[in-house]
């Protein structure tokens, strides 16, 4: 028999009442009451002796005396001013603790803090989209969990369950869709802490009107209480108490202008006894001093111990804020209204201008991104041959290795040789160099440095070296069979390498460029130079711009609103600048060109000591005729060999001996 048939129509008449009965029964609450009669007999005889068993002279002559330890009316309360005296305790109840909310008040100190409300809660109706936009600022306190926004059309929601939940979360704005025209919506935002306690509530209200319509309830402003009947009457009632940690307690009454600290939470409180007994809610409206039609509102909550309370977050600027307090009696629909103002002081200019908030919101991530981007671009600028994403990865790996070497975690490796471009003779970086043993297993690897150099620490064995680089081929076929070329000797093509563990190896590994035709380049190089130089200059300008902007922002942020991240970024920026300066000193780049300005691309430059025919140092220029050399300070002469279209080199210049006091070429060479 199917389930469907089993529970067929006729059975519902039987089941329904049973279910309803269960629901009813399940809803009962179990309770019990009891009472005791208390009686006391008081005699009014004219006693001649002390009849109080708690007195010291119980049974003795009158009057009764108390004190001297163990019972009786000795003041045994350490908090009393007459502690230890033989009399009833007298208390100075003034709160002397600055950390208490009621510091200076003639009451025992109170430390309890309620959950602070959101600030600047606003509701605005968007006529085009027929939606109400709600915005607010979350309070900044430890234990903040979420904000719950509750909506009602009947009146102001007085507690988190008093209406439909429109939003619950930690954002600072939400859209209430599908609202009807000419209906006033009331919203209360309750802040929830991690203990599940709610704030008293901030209130906002909006009504959707079509163009030209007037407000049906006569209230077109943002004050959600203004529509209430009797709201125009102003009556004096007891003072509202204003408390802030570390400040003297203040009192707010009709017409008062009370000074408060804008940077601290503000607790507003009033004793229930001074209010009508049947009371639904107390609403407080604080207006923007710069625009009195703009206000934010919140409600005060009954704390269950004889007080109405609300907790406001710090203000965002100084000023005199008009305040209106509505004491609403829903039973007879009357409202008592008190107006006054709060003179807010102590808020810094930076916070007022929203600068700090803007900084924290927008500039922080921007500075971080710029810093990272600029740093990365600097790294790229410092290398020569970034052809692919893989190359970027190799660069990053190299950065990590050098950092580890600098820290001493990784041992510095001796230099084995250079990887270079077989056609242009330029050193290649980054290139990935691996070492395999006789069985073909990879033993170790390295990434070439900015000068194309690599090295390893290996025990005695026979090894094979392999080199990889995007758009290059290994082993080279262009130079196959040769043991040296114009610049490098000991050319290596992948043959077995016997290493005895101590010997210093000198290997230079040529790689053939794929897709680069020197002949073609030679024909079109003038165009290439023009375009490339312009592109290169623009690239450098843009990257430098990004870098220095990021640097400036980081510096500004550190000064105005610092954090650990900002300091680290600033140090990174300074580090990059210092590194660049150091590099420039040691790696001063000059260019070699003809008198007409044409750079001599891929030409060879050799430095000689006067009187010795062997070159001390040889290098090749890059595609823009640039190079750098670093030698011991001294006097040298140099030669320049131009690369011909057929690939051969032809000496076109020899200089007279000149001094190199710093060991670097510091002037462009014009031929």
């Amino acid at each position: 028999m199917s389930l469907k048939k089993m529970f067929k129509k006729s059975n519902y008449f039987f089941i329904l009442p049973v279910v309803l009965a269960l629901l009813l029964i399940g809803g009962f609450v179990w309770s019990a009451t009891d009472a005791v009669n208390v009686s006391l007999s008081v005699t009014a005889t004219t006693a001649t002796t002390c009849t109080d068993p708690l007195a010291n002279n119980y049974g003795g002559a009158l009057p009764c005396t108390y004190g001297g330890g163990g019972g009786g009316l000795t003041c045994d309360d350490p908090k009393a001013t007459n502690y230890g005296a033989e009399e009833a305790c007298v208390y100075s109840t003034k709160c002397e603790d600055r950390q208490a909310f009621n510091y200076g008040e003639d009451l025992p100190c109170l430390y309890r803090e309620t959950v602070p409300n959101v600030s600047n809660f606003q509701a605005e109706f968007n006529i085009n989209q027929q939606k109400i936009y709600l915005t607010w600022s979350n309070p900044n306190f430890e234990g903040f969990e979420a904000v719950r926004i509750v909506r009602s059309t009947f009146g102001i929601p007085a507690n988190p369950e008093d209406g439909a939940v429109v939003y619950e979360g930690s954002a600072e704005n939400v859209v209430d869709p599908a609202v009807e025209f000419r209906v006033r919506y009331y919203y209360t935002a309750f802040v929830k802490n991690q203990a599940g306690e709610y704030s008293s509530g901030a209130v906002a209200s909006a009504i959707g009107l079509k163009e030209g319509e007037i407000c049906p309830d006569g209230n077109c402003g943002s004050d959600p209480f203004a529509f209430l009947p009797g709201a125009k009457s102003t009556v004096t009632i007891s003072d509202f108490i204003l408390r802030q940690i570390g400040e003297l307690t203040k009192y707010f009454s009709a017409g008062a202008k009370v000074k408060i600290q804008g940077t601290k939470n503000l607790m507003i409180e009033i004793d229930k006894n001074s209010l009508p007994t049947v009371l639904k809610t107390i609403g407080v409206v604080i207006s923007d001093p710069k625009n009195v039609t703009r206000s934010f509102s919140f409600i005060m909550r009954d704390d269950g111990e004889g007080r109405y309370l609300a907790n406001l977050s710090p203000f965002w600027r100084n000023g005199v804020f008009p305040v209106t307090i509505y004491v609403i009696n829903y039973q007879d629909q009357t409202v008592k209204k008190i107006t006054g103002s709060l003179q807010v002081a102590g808020v810094s200019f930076l916070r007022t201008s929203g600068l700090i908030d803007a900084l924290e919101k927008y500039i922080d991530p921007l500075v971080t991104m710029m810093g990272l981007g600029a740093g990365l671009s600097q790294i790229i600028l410092m290398t020569t041959n970034v052809h692919s994403v893989y190359d970027l990865y190799l660069l990053l790996m190299r950065l990590i290795y050098s950092f580890l070497s600098w820290l001493g975690i990784r041992r510095k490796r001796p230099e084995w040789g250079t990887v270079f471009d077989a056609v242009t003779k330029q050193p290649i970086d980054p290139a990935y160099v691996t070492v395999e043993n006789g069985t073909g297993k990879e033993v170790t690897s390295a990434i070439t440095d900015i000068d194309g150099r690599f090295g390893f620490l290996l025990p005695k064995d026979v090894y094979y070296i392999k080199v990889g680089k995007t758009n290059y081929r290994f082993p080279s076929t262009t130079l196959k069979g040769k043991t040296q070329d114009e610049l490098y000797d000991n050319l290596y093509f992948g043959t077995p390498l016997a290493h005895d563990g101590n010997q210093i190896i000198r290997l230079n590994v040529p790689l053939d460029p794929i897709g680069f035709d020197w002949n073609e380049f030679a024909k079109t190089k003038i165009n290439f130079f023009q375009i490339y130089t312009r592109k290169e200059a623009t690239r450098r300008r843009v990257l430098a711009g990004v870098f220095y902007t990021g640097f400036a922002l980081s510096l500004f942020k550190v000064v105005v609103a610092p954090s650990v991240l900002d300091f680290s970024l600033l140090i990174a920026y300074v580090g990059i600048l210092v590194y660049q300066k150091v590099r420039i000193i040691k790696h001063k780049i000059i260019s070699i060109r003809r008198a007409n300005g044409e750079p001599l691309a891929f030409s060879l430059v050799r430095l000689y000591l006067p009187g010795i025919d062997q070159p001390i140092k040889s290098a090749s220029t890059d595609q823009l005729g640039r190079l750098y050399v670093l030698v011991r300070p001294g006097t040298y002469y140099l030669t320049v060999e131009e690369k011909m279209p057929d690939g051969s080199y032809h000496k076109i210049h020899q200089s007279a001996p000149f001094a190199m006091p710093k060991g670097v070429l510091d002037q462009d060479i014009i031929i």
Binding site: T33, S39, L40, V42, T43, C50, L62, A80, Y111
Partner: protein, 251 residues
């Protein structure tokens, strides 16, 4: 399984009736507590000229009974009934009697033991029938004037020209108002004997609160009553009476 249910349909209904209310609640808000819930599935749409019904199937209880026992098995036939019991102490006569001309202090106690199997515990409130609570035809003791309304005073003290009546509550479930930190009430976790005195009020004051069951032993809450008259209080002779009531609610 379905055949079994079909055969014993009347028994299922019988068991559901017997199951009664379930005390533990599975969901709550400040306005309601949901005692039981079930996840429903399946079902179908039925209709006639006058009504339409969309039904679902809930969890199914099984059951059988005999002379000796009722078996309540299955989800809906969950647990035993919730109960709450309250002991009933005798009336209290404060002692010793007070001689108005010499002054004096009178004490008495009433102990209420609350037992409940409700997993959410119970609350116990106390109130007096009148204000001032302790009175006679010719006068009354002033309800103890505490420093902060609703918060007990750590120490009991009465000026010589006054007569006060108040109480304190002691017990392991006592409300935080009656706990102290050695100098102040309403804070801390100490329960110093004969401290934290409060005035009686016609409004119910929570004196004990617990959030778990305590059956079968229950928990006792001791109310210590004290009346003191100063030597020159001007009290008139007579029998002074008060009625103190408690309400215990299983949560």
């Amino acid at each position: 399984m379905f055949n079994f249910i079909t055969r014993n349909f009347s028994l299922i209904v019988f068991c559901l009736l017997m199951a009664g209310p379930v005390g533990a609640y599975v969901a709550s808000s400040p306005n309601y507590r949901l005692q039981a819930d079930s996840v429903n599935f399946g079902g179908s749409m039925s209709s006639s000229t006058n009504y339409k019904m969309e039904d679902t199937l809930g969890e199914i209880g099984t059951g059988t009974s005999s002379d000796a026992y009722n078996l309540h098995a299955g989800y809906q036939a969950m647990s035993e009934d919730v109960y709450l019991t309250v002991s009933s102490p005798s009336d209290v006569t404060l002692s010793p009697a007070i001689d108005a001309s010499g002054g004096g202090t009178s004490d008495g106690t009433a102990v209420w033991t609350i037992t409940t199997n409700s997993p959410a515990g119970y609350s116990l409130t106390l109130s007096a029938d009148a204000s001032p609570a302790l009175r006679s035809a010719g006068g009354s003791f002033t309800d103890l004037p505490v420093t902060v309304a609703g918060t007990p005073d750590f120490s009991w003290s009465v000026p010589t020209n006054q007569a006060y009546f108040g109480y304190t509550a002691e017990g392991s479930d006592v409300a935080t108002s009656f706990l102290d930190n050695g100098t102040t009430c309403g804070t801390g976790a100490l329960e110093t004997t004969d401290r934290c005195w409060l005035n009686f009020s016609t409004s119910a004051k929570t004196i004990s609160l617990r959030n778990s069951n305590n059956n079968p032993s229950g928990t006792a809450t001791t109310i210590k009553l004290r009346a003191q008259a100063g030597a020159s209080s001007g009290l008139s002779g007579g029998t002074y009476q008060a009625v103190v009531s408690i309400i215990a609610i299983a949560l």
